[in-house]
Symmetry: C2
Subunit: 401 residues, 2 copies
């Protein structure tokens, strides 16, 4: 079922109501302004458009949905059909917000701040101070709690219409990788390969799943920078690996995949043993991670399964997470499949849930050949996983001919 945007938003808001009941929180209050300048990622889920002036979106556990926005934005929000009450104010929002709260009388008010989850941290410090000022003399600030559990659930538990959109982005990405098989020859530069993919993305009118300067990332042989590096002038050589990390966004939902090629030397029929060994190790580690991935498991446990495998195979451990949630953003917030490092504190302990879509990704270096790095996208089901991508199980080859 492929829902239109307004229907999808209405379904997500209905889901949010259930989650508020489940978490026993009376009111979820999203407070933002000028989101084209400072984004509020919660609005992607419950509004799907930007706001200009200070705006408040109130969702209650009893199913009330109220939007208080600048009068300029009111019409588009009414058209969405998701908020029964849309107040378009002219000079200021304060009294409208206080009146709405008085009518709800919430005992708990979740607001969007979170140290550990960027997707739940859309309330700026300045907006928080403004909210306190608006509510001065009322009991409401004492009822503030973090909305991180709400947002993690609304964002993380994909409904079927969202999974379909992610799948569409993945299918499109796999088609682009198939074009790479036909296009790439030794001697091409990282930039040439990236330009080809970006040209195709723009021809097809896809969006980029992340910043264009590093989408795709193209790693040619052992001398490319590893990480979020812009494709440069390094040429693809025979005997080297080619690695591409690519994501597209279609209808608001992302893919995020990595694929590997080896460039055959003249007369070579397959990759040398160390390349094959690295491929098997990375593939095996991803499969270990996938086997550990199911509802109720903590993120770090999934990472540990893959990390243990790759270390046992004699490779250095990867200095990042095994995986992250995928959805409206390529890094979709909340739970990560990551080791218990300071940098992942609080998010690697969160439990995997049914409906989550995760990436599974890691790399190892192969001296003098390049890196070996794969990434798959999987959906967590009631008792396990389903691959949304067609996982790469064999090295892809590029020959000079």
């Amino acid at each position: 079922m492929f829902l239109n945007d307004a229907k999808l938003i209405r379904q997500k808001i209905a889901q949010a109501t259930q989650i508020l009941q489940e978490l026993n929180i009376d009111l979820w209050l999203t407070f933002a302004r000028e989101t084209s300048m400072v984004s509020e990622p919660a609005l992607d889920l419950i509004l799907g458009q930007s706001v200009t002036w200070h705006s408040a979106f109130l969702l209650t556990s009893t199913g009330r949905h109220i939007a208080i926005v600048g009068h300029f934005d009111a019409e588009n929000i009414r058209d969405l059909g998701a908020y029964e009450q849309v107040i378009g104010y002219h000079k200021g929002l304060s009294k409208h917000l206080r009146t709405a709260l008085d009518s709800i009388q919430p005992k708990s008010i979740a607001i969007n701040f979170s140290e550990r989850d960027v997707a739940a941290d859309g309330l700026t410090f300045g907006n928080y101070l403004t909210l306190l000022k608006i509510l001065e003399g009322t009991p409401y600030p004492e009822s503030f709690v973090s909305a991180e559990a709400i947002i993690a659930a609304v964002r993380g538990r994909k409904i079927s219409a969202e999974v379909e959109r992610i799948r569409r982005a993945i299918t499109a990405t796999e088609a682009l990788f198939a074009e790479i098989d036909a296009y790439v020859r030794p001697g091409m530069t990282q930039r040439q390969i990236a330009n080809f993919l970006q040209g195709r993305i723009e021809e097809e009118d896809y969006d980029y799943a992340w910043e264009k300067s590093v989408d795709p990332i193209v790693t040619c042989g052992p001398h490319s920078n590893v990480g979020h590096a812009t494709p440069g002038d390094i040429e693809l050589e025979k005997g080297h690996t080619l690695h591409i990390d690519l994501g597209v966004k279609i209808a608001g939902y992302c893919s995020d995949l990595q694929r590997m090629w080896y460039v055959l030397e003249d007369g070579e029929l397959e990759a040398p043993p160390e390349v094959q060994h690295a491929f098997s190790a990375v593939l095996g580690a991803i499969q270990e991670g996938e086997a550990a991935l199911r509802p109720g498991v903590a993120g770090w446990q999934v990472d540990a399964a893959a990390r243990g495998f790759i270390i046992d195979a004699g490779y250095p451990e990867y200095m990042h997470a095994l995986g992250h949630l995928l959805g409206r953003a390529a890094h979709d917030g909340a739970t990560v499949l990551a080791p218990q490092w300071e940098r992942y504190d609080g998010i690697c302990q969160l439990a995997v849930e049914e409906g989550n879509v995760f990436t599974l990704e890691l790399h190892v270096p192969i001296p003098e050949r390049g890196i070996m790095s794969l990434e798959e996208d999987v959906l967590v089901t009631k008792d396990g996983t389903v691959y949304l991508s067609n996982p790469q199980r064999e090295i892809r080859y590029i020959s000079a001919g």
Copy 2:
């Protein structure tokens, strides 16, 4: 002079150092993470790329520039050549940040929060709490002040390379309006006209200056929604006005212009008197505003000049600001030329500065004809203004033929 991006960023960082000295602030600390999900607009000025893990950018009044970022992001930031010290951390940023602060010993630390200026409010509440935790037991949190004055000056005082980029976006927008003269005929819908412009924007590989769904805004006759409304199915009719609000972004800088057409009835040679009168009133009000605009004047005073003129001309006052800053964003933060309403509190009192680029815009309704709305872009000079756009001084006409 058209600088490349890295040179432009280096010039803005040099400008920031001078501004820190002028404001007598020792250190400006920008603290952010995953800016592709929650944007930190200060990074547009001093970095020009996104960051992934928690990242800190320290600019001192003595000219030191330190970046502490996830190791994945370090290489691209080194390539920028703007930060002498780039620390790419693996597991956590805390000790690097404390060490850097200990070496600077700042007496005042400006952080990015502001109730009144969204462009200076990129620090999320969650990141603020994290910063406090990292600095627990140090004297530094006591030295926190708002960076709003720094950011307003760095963002607002355009250097010549920035003005050139804005001018380029304006010139491109005016060329698109010239294409509208040739393209539009009565009977076309808002959506058709918007689609034509969006097709051209994408052909030319421009970016949108604001959200695509409302760029352009197309208002046909008296039955279109006014404001930030997505172009719909209303047809352009003879005897009605056509209004287009359009902005493009080229090389990271925006235009924001509104132009007006009148659709001649059969046999009509010019617009009827009420349309002409409305045009003269709006043009006159913009000219009043422009005459009041110079360094040192408060934003609300400029608005008052135009607002008084339009009320004296017998029209209802416009329910928005006369103008906003323009630059990397269409709404470029800080000073607005706005009335002293709650919604503009604190930003309409700010003083206009040399190097600011402002929009001047307002509209009046014409019963049974449509709206009359113009917008120009002007640069504030040492003692007055220079139009960056070619201001519309006459109604543009569309005929059936």
